[in-house]
Amino acid sequence: MFGKSDVIPGRRLTLGITLTYVSLFLFIPLAAFMLYASGMGFEKFFAAVTDWRNVHAYGVSFFCALTAGIINALFGLIIAWVLVRYDFRGKKIMDALIDLPFALPTAVAGIALTTLYAQNGLLGKIFYGIGIETAFSPIGITIALIFVGIPFVARSVQPVLKELDPQLEEAANLFGAGNWTIFSKIIFPELIEPLLTGFALAFARGIGEYGSVVFIAGNMPYETEIAPLMIMTKLEQFDYQSAAAIAIVMMILSLTILLGIHGWQARQLKRIGGVVGA
């Protein structure tokens, strides 16, 4: 549309700030870490990465984080919707509560959740009664990950929903479009991006989460061991390099997902941009 010559000023300034900051706080520390890890040689890296117990732990982390991410995406959307669109008593409180999972240190969250969801806990009693083991099981891990991920989706969707132009909806309404049509054709497409962003962040956070999970997981080998626990195990053996190897695998896993989602979004945007441009 506008080609290479920018109309909006600030390209150099923002590029400068962004790159400096990314290098200082991200690249240089990452490089130092990689430099250290590279000392281990391929064989040791391979052995640490493919150890069946570690592979199992990646699996547990991956699936629990995925499940938690999906549940958070669903409820995050509902929460954001309710908060933006409706007026009801207690709305302000609800709005205020959403960020609290971040402020509570993860270990405290983990202990509180385990107290609630263990067999003798308030909620655990109910769940165990119907045969669902909500603590010391993959379900328990998922519960902890849902907790730490609550703010991501709700807070990504909320601002977009708030800034959404109401005129389109009104117009559609005038033309007799039903609620579902308006939602699925007009509102939802706008929300896909923040929804995916929120999901990806919750998911990535879930894969790396340690503090809250370790209390509720039970940490049984081949059952409920999570990948970050395996890193801690290696560190506890003063084996920095194997720990780094597992960390690198997890990093690649999360980064692939984030890249995938960003790539998809970029394509979507181009498509939409193309339509608008035409």
Binding site: Y36, V108, P151, P159, E163, N173, F183, L235
Partner: protein, 281 residues
């Protein structure tokens, strides 16, 4: 869009019950445990000399991390949404990288960079600069784990706003700062507010990364979450929860502050929204 009343009620009910089970109950539990030995014990735990020192350090690290990340967030979101360039997708993902890294590992990054195993270590020793196992390391780790929040909040909103308003303003000869202040900022106020709140909440509660670089020196490098861990590990359950409740209270204070600023700015916001509406037509 007019929803039927039952749909509205169902959705509110779903949202409320989800939050109740997943969020409110754990928080009630924290409060209950914190007060289980009475109010006197609660305040004694909070006014402990080392708890107060840890509180101050936590606040210091949080303010710094939020301030730095706000500058970075605004710059990077502007860059990512107002311009096209090669490697944009990659840069976007790179900014998210701290989320993909387990906090413990993030802490190790700084150990490898500034610790005894680092090639930089002799240099730091020579100038007597303590970075890890001192306050600067804690701040670095906090910045790292909260790195993407504000960018991530701003980008979707700025993306959906498009560039036309800024372009119009630029064509009319407004400079960058004016465009940002008069056109962009009113539109992204909400998102920026959320970003800052999320960022500060996360910074307050950060444990994993800070724990690695802190050294846990009592009264010097212990943040509040680390102080909680120590209390818990010495079987001082109630005091640990009492101190944890302070972090929740701090997060609530930040939210109230945000609401106050929001309300104060509402009048001007409405005016600019009106303008924006006109510009859209």
């Amino acid at each position: 869009m007019r929803e039927s009343i039952w749909l509205k009620r169902t959705l509110i009910f779903l949202a409320a019950s989800f939050l109740f089970v997943m969020l409110i109950m754990p928080l009630i539990l924290v409060a209950k445990e914190a007060l289980s030995k009475g109010v006197d014990f609660y305040f004694a735990a909070l006014t402990d000399e080392f708890a107060l020192k840890a509180l101050w350090l936590t606040i210091e690290a949080t303010i710094l991390a939020v301030a730095l990340n706000t500058i970075f967030g605004l710059a990077s979101a502007w860059l990512l949404t107002k311009f096209d360039f090669r490697g944009k997708t990659f840069l976007g993902s790179l900014i998210d990288l701290p989320f993909a890294i387990s906090p413990v590992v993030a802490g190790l990054f700084f150990i490898m960079l500034f610790g005894r195993m680092s090639p930089l270590y002799p240099l730091l020793q020579e100038y007597n600069l303590a970075i890890v196992f001192a306050v600067p390391g804690i701040i670095l780790a906090t910045v790292f784990v909260t790195f993407p929040f504000i960018t991530r909040e701003l980008v979707p909103v700025m993306e959906s706003q498009g560039r036309s308003e800024e372009e119009a303003a630029a064509t009319m000869g407004a400079n960058g700062w004016t465009i940002f202040r008069r056109v962009t900022l009113p539109n992204i106020k909400w998102a920026l507010g959320y970003g800052i709140v999320l960022c500060s909440a996360r910074a307050l509660g950060e444990f994993g990364a800070v724990s690695v670089v802190s050294g846990h020196i009592r009264g010097k490098t212990n943040t509040l979450p680390l102080h909680i861990e120590i209390l818990y590990n010495e079987y001082n359950f109630t005091a640990a929860f009492a101190v944890a409740s302070v972090l929740v209270l701090l997060a609530i204070i930040i939210l109230i502050l945000r609401n106050l600023i929001e309300n104060a700015g509402k009048a001007s916001l409405q005016v600019s929204n009106l303008k924006a509406g006109v510009a859209n037509d």
